[in-house]
Symmetry: C2
Subunit: 195 residues, 2 copies
């Protein structure tokens, strides 16, 4: 039996991202974001929903570029702090000891300690209620060598990203593999192909 | 040391969603989607990136409403099949044995076997390259009683959602809790408040 629940922003799982920007004075800042996802494959794009009151939104408006960093589970405390404090009042990098590094590609820093950094240029904006939806085209991806597998590409088990449950306000680790895509469902396809 | 990787649609973790619609003949259909996320809190909205060639896009264009169902890990094979086959050619519900149920709220079915079903009405569209970004306002949420905790709200450990790694084309389970939000980062805040 299903029961009805009032509308809340619920989606399992939400990602845990650090959105890095420079402010108007050129100071690096970052905020934690869970409202985001891939929205296009060609060109590859990320969509983010950001509250209009956020310092990060001011920074993106001004420079049009931002870095999406994926923190490892080992950075959960630092990551949480980036969601509590505002770059208007303090330098979150100084407080946490994380290292902002200038990018060669865009006007936004990445975080040295994060295994993945995705350089994005804002291509489209859409105001929606409390948030503004920003579509950023992925221009380049930086990955720690140690977070890559034998094929040279990032390996999720080495990256160890977090995920977020907004109902319980809890971060989770990634668990065990559950199945291969375009593969585990083929058993149903075979029944179709039988005459 | 970080190395540069060509732009690909990479974000850890991506969700695993079943987007349910009726086609023009009123037949229920669903597709698996990983390009999506929450994009606004007030009103609560979900953004989805869907290829314009998808049958689901035709259906959403026609009816303006869709159901976002969250499958449990136990449905991984059925979920994968919904991403392999097209509703143009067959009825995926018949093939997998899953049960489409009419909604009282929108013109789209939900899947009885999925613990969570989120009723959405398309509010905004934005074409981006290969995909179209659809913003759907969450009108209502249905949840299995057995997937809810003592507070009456969905419990992620009972829902057991999947997540998707597009690089390895692999589904994963949710792992162990990694920390509390607005809490584990407070240790950094305390250092700030000291004079």
């Amino acid at each position: 039996m299903k029961k009805s629940i009032s509308p809340v922003p619920l989606l399992y799982p939400s990602p845990v991202l650090l959105i890095c920007t420079y402010d108007s004075a050129g100071r690096p800042d970052a905020m934690t974001a869970a409202w985001g996802g891939i929205c296009c494959s060609e060109p590859p794009c990320i969509s983010l929903g950001i509250q209009k009151s956020r310092y990060t939104w001011e920074n993106i408006k001004e420079r049009g570029e931002f870095m999406v960093c994926i923190p490892s589970a080992s950075l959960v405390k630092e990551t949480d702090f980036f969601g509590i404090a505002s770059g208007r009042n303090l330098n979150k990098f100084t407080e946490t000891g994380l290292t902002p590094v200038p990018s060669d590609i865009i006007e936004a820093p990445y975080i040295e300690e994060c295994p993945i950094a995705i350089a994005c240029r804002a291509q489209n904006l859409m105001p929606i209620g409390s948030h503004i939806l920003i579509v950023g085209e992925i221009l380049s991806i930086l990955a720690d060598e140690e977070a890559c597998g034998e094929d040279g590409m990032p390996d999720i088990s080495l990256v160890r990203p977090l995920l977020y449950d907004s109902l319980k306000k809890t971060y989770y680790n990634i668990g065990e593999p559950a199945g291969k895509a375009y593969s585990s469902g083929m058993k149903f396809r075979r029944t179709v192909q039988e005459p």
